[in-house]
């Protein structure tokens, strides 16, 4: 709201609305979230819906909004995510487990989100040679960024070392407590509008240069060969092709990090690293502040915070802020471009967004 007001916008200026459903954390998905938010904000949009593709929803919202604008359905689409993370110790954990597994077959085996990601991580480590210390190094980097970002949940918690991560209690091998993102409540929004209108609102808009989206399976059992060779390779390639950019042109990467392993997988799948090289890439400090490819510059889900159903919104907001030069204390110098990658499920569905300072 503060951004919309600072841009001098009124409710009548926003004619598109996309929202993610609230209530996922308690197993009560509200598919009418856009109606309630629209009413609260006093909007009467020509284009609106509640859409859900898990963590991928946020890059997808921007993609949908851009399409709607190109099609002339709307010229200013507000994309909103709000999330509430119920404590996993409450009865909601089993509700969630039934929701994220194949209810007919899998619930009997005690699946839950960290364990399902752990299955992906174990396979990645076995096949690509990544180590627990490599995973831990991702958490170390995320915290370095959070220490620079006063808005990050872990801003005041001090640095963590690889030893701290490996010494924290084991949740589901190979994940220790500090390999996991930090659950919290929160939300965010971005306004997707025409280039012309964006230039009137702000000196430096973030232009949508490329977009790619792909969906495949709905459970790990049906992942086939996409368990660690995820569709990120396809959405990344599509987004790069449409933007006319390549990996070397990207100044900031926001890579959905529900767990420490996923940025490693995405660095390889998106072509920033050769297969089997992500571990040594992060160990070299490449993704840290002052590294060659700053990753998750707000602290990521691991140290900024994981806001449940609005998780990926913080990645989009940060990617846009970096390109707009509005990232504050954690601003990367010369952030001309940002790649934002969000995925849903246990990396079942993907969307890649490339933002830039010039069209």
């Amino acid at each position: 709201m503060s951004a919309l007001r600072s841009w001098g916008l009124r409710p009548s200026d926003v004619n598109g609305l996309l929202a993610v459903p609230s209530g996922q954390g308690v197993g009560a998905i509200d598919i009418y979230t856009h109606e309630k938010l629209g009413a609260e904000l006093g909007l009467q949009p020509a284009f609106a819906e509640t859409l859900n593709a898990g963590g991928a929803s946020f890059a997808i919202m921007v993609g949908r909004a851009a399409s709607a604008i190109r099609d002339g359905l709307a010229d200013s689409v507000l994309c909103i995510g709000t999330g509430k993370f119920t404590k996993p110790t409450s009865g909601s954990a089993e509700v969630m487990a039934r929701m994220i597994s194949e209810p007919d077959f899998e619930i009997g085996y005690g699946p839950f989100i960290p364990a399902l990601y752990a299955l992906v991580a174990s396979r990645f480590m076995a096949e690509r040679g990544a180590t627990s210390a490599d995973l831990a190094r991702v958490a170390v980097s995320a915290r370095q960024w959070a220490l620079r970002n006063p808005r990050a949940l872990m801003h005041d918690r001090g640095a963590v070392t690889i030893e701290d991560v490996l010494g924290s209690r084991m949740i589901a091998e190979p994940f220790h407590y500090l390999d996991c993102s930090v659950p919290c409540d929160g939300g965010g929004a971005v306004l997707v509008t025409t280039a012309e209108k964006a230039r009137r609102l702000t000196q430096q808009p973030a232009y949508v240069l490329g977009y790619g989206e792909a969906h495949s399976h709905g459970s790990l059992s049906s992942a086939d060969d996409r368990l660690i060779d995820t569709l990120a390779s396809r959405t990344g390639a599509d987004a790069f092709k449409r933007s006319g950019l390549s990996q070397g042109d990207i100044d900031v990467a926001m890579l959905y990090d529900a767990f420490s392993v996923t940025p490693l997988i995405l660095l390889e799948n998106l072509g920033f690293c050769a297969r089997g090289h992500a571990g040594r890439f992060v160990q070299s400090g490449a993704i840290d502040p002052d590294g060659s490819l700053p990753v998750n510059t707000n602290g990521g889900l691991m140290s900024f915070g994981h806001t449940c159903e609005s998780s990926g919104m913080s990645l989009i907001v940060e990617g846009a802020r970096q390109v707009m030069g509005e990232a504050g204390d954690n601003q990367v110098a010369k952030a001309r471009t940002a790649l934002v990658h969000c995925y849903g499920g246990m990396m079942y569905e993907h969307a890649t967004l490339i933002l830039g300072q010039s069209q």
Binding site: P88, G91, A93, E94, A97, S101, E102, P103, D104, F105, E106, I107, G108, Y109, G110, P111, F112, P114, A115, L116, A118, L119, V120, A121, S122, R123, A126, R169, M170, I171, A172, E173, P174, L220, S221, S222, A223, D224, L227
Partner: protein
Amino acid sequence: MSGGPIPEVTPVNQVYWDGTAVGELRIRSCKACSARFRFVSDWCPKCWSTDLGWDVASGRGTVRTKTVVHMAPYESVAARVPYVLALIELAEGPTMMSNIVECEPCSVTIGMPVRVTFEPRGGLKLPQFKPA
């Protein structure tokens, strides 16, 4: 290791649980394209044919990936920690989720050969895997 969440038996998946009750691990097969899959649905996900049969899997497979769960995520598995959650690649092709039982959790490795066993639970027989 005892108890745990109980899968819901529905008219659609009943035939699967009827199979496990008599010691059979049943998988779907497509008569049109020979695809084999686990989903209980009335069409083949590869070719959309509705000409389907049931195969009895050999019960042999390998561990495609695994994790040892140390923190009980919910009450119904509290008595089971530490337990091994795994994806098993069946000899017939399809992959299924399971626990690896009757062994030390830390002894389970990716690529390890396993075979099915059936755990009585809540009136059902739940397929589980143990070292072959």
